[in-house]
């Protein structure tokens, strides 16, 4: 296996173009390294992205921008998320355990390789988009169009996620995240995130409710969103919406039955809505 550590994005993209399917990009390495002898046996070269300068978190008037190789710890410690509308991202990253993993795992890697993780759920609720670069240019793609199946994304050979952009939410919006796991360092068995916008009457003109690990990819809980949208955001609406989240076809695997996930899906949606609405009322 060849190991490359380019010092420019252009250099990395040329390498990835030339390597095609025989090359893989890594940053923290926390997914590639433990799986290198099972899932990556045909990989002939790795391209280490840690020298590209994609480790940043910036906040301007319109959006939050997170460089793809920002570690989860750097994301949390950047301070850019503290107290503002994006604190839910920091809260979500903090629940990815253990600490040793957060110190190495990167935002881009988590989004690209982790079908069972937490950041995709929250970033989908916040309507994030990805900047994807290749040797022939770059494109932006809504995160919602990124996940095609279990460990299967819209990323083409030679392409690289370089940045996550999260639009600044309306001032009357609130967001929250909630997860179920079995033990302290487990992957989530099920998680949920929501962003709820309130109008001056306390009604909800729009809401995004996402469930992670309910299906092979994170999904929108459309029925739950519809049950909330247009109605007054009181306790009754929250219960109605969380019950509507039960109509999803929950997946079954060794970690939980579909029935357990259905129950937890209802509870997780209830919890994120309560918190998101409370935050929307308090202006976050």
């Amino acid at each position: 296996m060849q190991y490359h550590r380019p010092d420019s994005l252009g250099g990395a993209l040329t390498l990835l173009r030339d390597l095609g399917d025989s090359g893989v990009a890594i940053a923290g390495g926390t997914f590639f390294v433990p799986h290198r002898r099972e899932l990556f046996t045909d990989v002939e070269a790795v391209v280490d992205l840690q020298g590209l300068g994609l480790d940043y978190v910036t906040l301007d008037g319109h959006a939050l921008r997170i460089g793809a190789t920002t570690s989860l710890t750097s994301l949390i410690e950047s301070g850019a998320l503290d107290g503002g509308p994006f604190k839910v991202i920091s809260e979500t990253a903090s629940q990815i355990t253990p600490l040793e993993l957060r110190n190495r795992a990167t935002v881009g890697g988590d989004l690209c390789m982790s079908a069972e993780s937490d950041l995709p759920t929250t970033l989908l609720a916040l309507n994030a988009e990805l900047v994807i670069a290749s040797d022939s240019g770059s494109r932006t793609l809504p995160l919602e169009q990124f996940y095609l199946g279990y460990l299967h994304t819209a990323l083409q050979a030679g392409e690289l996620v370089t940045e996550v952009r999260v639009p600044l939410p309306a001032s009357s919006a609130g967001a929250a995240f909630y997860k179920f796991k079995r033990r302290a360092i487990d992957l989530p068995v099920l998680n949920a995130a929501a962003q709820v916008v309130l109008d001056s009457d306390g009604r909800c003109p729009s809401a995004r409710i996402i469930l992670g690990c309910a299906a092979p990819t994170p999904i929108r809980a459309s029925s739950a969103e519809q049950a909330l949208t247009g109605s007054k955001c009181d306790g009754e609406a929250v219960i109605r919406s969380s019950e509507a989240a039960q109509d999803i076809e929950y997946q079954e695997d060794l970690r939980a039955s579909s029935e357990v996930r259905r129950t937890w899906g209802r509870v997780a949606v209830r919890e994120v809505l309560r918190k998101a609405i409370e935050r929307a009322k308090g202006g976050q």
């Binding site: 296996m1 550590r5 253990p98 600490l99």
Partner: protein, 157 residues
């Protein structure tokens, strides 16, 4: 494929010829002879192989050795200075915080990285900091106690 990599291990620059697929944990133990770092699960699930890389605790089994080029690594062998035990090591002995000892190097390195940033931790914060570490002997209670004692010692030193 073989490649030369230079690491700064416990303050000393070490250049070794490694296979690019080898983990940092493997190279520390097999190329550098630093067998204090333990490998148990080799997939980032137990914390045994924890070392400090550029100030942060990491699982050395989850990182290729070549990725650590030029980085500063502290292993359990670098914890005692001039033959004097680190307060954490002394506290682990005093509190009987180990039985078989296999998890101990990883526990100590995680605790060191944690206390370097937080000199006045709560019990809850300590539990979170070592949450990725498995002690099959079940000495958790004494481990947490030892870290609390070491924190007090280090705060007053």
């Amino acid at each position: 494929m073989r490649q030369s990599v230079t690491l700064v291990v416990n303050g000393l620059e070490r250049t070794v010829d490694v296979d690019t697929t080898w983990s940092l944990a493997h190279v520390l133990r097999n190329s550098l002879g630093l067998t204090g770092t333990k490998i148990a699960c080799d997939v980032g699930a137990c914390g045994s192989c924890t070392v400090i890389v550029d100030g942060r605790a990491v699982n050395s089994c989850l990182m290729l050795a070549v990725q650590a080029e030029g980085q500063s690594i502290t292993t359990i062998e670098g914890l005692a200075v001039d033959g004097r035990l680190h307060p954490l090591q002394q506290a682990f002995i005093d509190s009987h915080a180990l039985q078989c000892g296999y998890c101990t190097p990883g526990m100590l390195m995680a605790a060191k990285a944690f206390l370097d940033k937080n000199r006045h931790p709560t019990e809850e914060e300590i539990k979170e900091a070592i949450g990725g570490h498995i002690c099959r002997c079940g000495s958790y209670h004494n481990i947490v106690e030892a870290i609390l004692i070491a924190a007090k010692e280090m705060a007053t030193a």
